[in-house]
Point group: C2
Chain length 391, copies 2
């Protein structure tokens, strides 16, 4: 039996216990929980083969009461007797995409982001927000197949673009490659077709939270997106963090969402506070360039899930819905470079050089922390990606 | 051993051989091929357990050469010795969704449809088509979880709408429920992330074709769709036909696509004719109300797949991409009721009554036929759905 040392102030102490999928050489991927700088194999810790799977989906499908029970069992066992063979050093393992993504929907839940993009994409419009924006959480479906785990290289996408000076569209690698710093919400159990998930029941369906970088080719997006929305400007890649922070670990992070005015329709009303006081950081080649505050988001994850299912659309274990870019009111709180550099017209200084959009070799790391139980602080790990040219 | 009788002129003779997934009471779903009014179990016919699966995905993943080989083997074995236990009467079996849907993308490939909708949704615009429309096949990702097999009841969706006379949005069951008569293309084998599928290689990746009814709530769609595209107006349900007609069966249906002017970028150019002379019919409560001609479609499925992957987005076995509404130039060739009734202002007569959008109890059946080998005609079966009120 092993006892696991956790350094004082670790973001991965008992208040966190995020789930991931790891492997060691010669072994298939399995579910583990992170504790400090270690990964503990859950099938061995708890003697339950649901964790011997290569994704969290079988466990997530067991439902909310089981999630509560397992979190309790981990907390108890991990302080008592951990079999030696269940413990790995984090540096010795490979981390994988922690869940199989079913449907993926990207929302647009930050008022600051939506207003900034409205001003940039539709400068002629009197109002930066569309008339529907404060009545429903606007969202669209994205591509599941290109959602990859932190560390995966991001190949610069090619596509059509047509700048203001171009008579006809041109084809080539994107020249306005951007990030979107978001959170992703992982659905553990869904709803049957023809039924809906009320906002107040969302916490029984949402298993956990990941960091999410929705890489965006702004030049491809600007040309393609009317009238049916973004497609190839987004579909080439999105990066998620390898650790799924349980929603159960975020009780201390709950804060009220900003006042919603006009009042929302009844199906979007919530009894509990569903804002999340999660502090996100965006690092560009090692330098922090933005600190988007998740607490500033207008629409909550409970509202997103309630909206997404109100028409009877079924959701499933492994569904992922993302918040859309997290931007706060201040300039250095903007979670996309198109906002941070105001469409490329106001470069930011990165390691001494003026920068606007991403160049080959650039590396972006998203990270985040939040208040946890008993005064602890908990971490989300990181969503890391480096841009490479197409071979 | 059985010999299977096929009536003269059957749409399901040896020129067709569509694949589906069927079950009989007490047995798990398995792959079968339709021959006349029979279903032949393929695992038993060919002695290959890849067909004992509940979806076509494992077989599709084996790739194009194997698809050619299996089609040859079926043709040969079915005329020689069919084990008794492999043959079922079509009326005795239950048909299931024939493949597991990975990512689903809906295109907008009919110029007539796009122009009609432009006139209806943006009457103030000088040009009905957006500037990008003739340069790229516009498309967006849709929801995979709500794709259901023919015969599944369609629950009328609820959602927000805001009519011209409404001061604020209202919530309730859609009052402008519509259809979109489309074809769906099933991807058998995909491409790795960071690579693309050239238009001229698309036929090695597209396994087959289904009928596709993209049910649409126009009131929900009109309010939600700016700026990120359709979401809840579409995500509640789409119906596919249970038989996947192999692309290999459609060689005789190939025709040139309409002239594309301006010329398309090189990645969208094709050497072979990729138009498909498929005649679609839309039945409303038993009465044919429209006959959309697939041959009139501007963008081809090869171009859709080439476009969808040109940014390096991976596609996978089970991906489905749909054509968008098939509309021809004539009024009675329009594949959506919003066009056919011009936004509800010009009712059509169905069984003697003037009709615009769908009422509870209405049943829609899509069907289609195409030229097959040796002068035969082949059928697509049907995509059937009846509207029911939410319980």
């Amino acid at each position: 039996m092993t006892s696991i040392s956790i350094s004082e102030g670790s973001l991965f102490g008992l208040a966190n216990l995020p789930y991931g999928v790891y492997s060691v050489p010669g072994q298939d991927p399995r579910v583990g929980v992170r504790l400090g700088e270690h990964v503990v194999d859950l099938a061995l810790l708890l003697g339950d083969d649901v964790f011997a799977a290569g994704s969290l989906n079988p466990f997530m499908a067991q439902g909310h009461e089981r999630w509560v029970e397992v979190r309790g069992a981990i907390t108890e066992r991990i302080q008592r007797d951990v079999p030696d063979e269940a413990v790995h050093e984090l540096r010795d393992v490979t981390l994988h995409l922690p869940f199989e993504v079913a449907d993926y929907v990207d929302f647009y839940a930050s008022e600051h982001h939506a207003a900034n993009l409205g001003r940039l994409f539709r400068p002629e419009a009197a109002e930066p927000l569309m008339p529907n924006w404060k009545h429903l959480p606007v969202g669209y479906h994205g591509r599941s197949s290109s959602i990859v785990v932190s560390g995966t290289e991001i190949v610069r996408p090619s596509g059509q673009r047509k700048g203001p000076g171009d008579e006809v569209p041109v084809f080539g690698p994107s020249v306005r490659l951007d990030i979107e710093a978001e959170l992703g919400f992982v659905v553990g159990t869904g709803n049957a077709m023809g039924t809906s998930i009320p906002a107040d029941e969302a916490e029984r369906h949402i298993f956990g939270v990941v960091l999410f970088n929705d890489w965006s080719a702004r030049d491809i997006q600007a040309w393609e997106y009317v009238p049916l929305g973004p497609n190839l400007g987004k579909s080439f890649a999105s990066t998620v963090s390898p650790w799924v922070v349980p929603l159960l670990a975020l009780e201390a992070a709950r804060v009220p969402t900003p006042t919603q005015e006009p009042a929302v329709l009844p199906y979007l009303q919530m009894q509990r506070p569903w804002g999340l006081d999660i502090a996100v950081e965006v690092e560009w080649n090692g330098q922090v360039v933005s600190r988007p505050p998740y607490a500033a988001m207008y629409w909550s994850p409970a509202q997103m899930l309630a909206h997404q299912t109100v028409n009877g659309a079924p959701s499933r274990t492994g569904d992922l819905f993302a918040s859309g870019t997290i931007s706060g009111p201040a300039k250095d709180q903007r979670g996309a470079f198109i906002e941070l550099t105001w469409g490329g017209t106001e470069p930011v200084e990165v390691n001494g050089a003026p920068r606007t959009f991403l160049e080959d070799g650039d590396e972006i790391v998203l990270s985040a922390t939040a208040p946890g139980a008993d005064g602890a602080r908990i971490g989300f790990g990181e969503a890391r990606g480096r841009i490479v040219a197409k071979a």
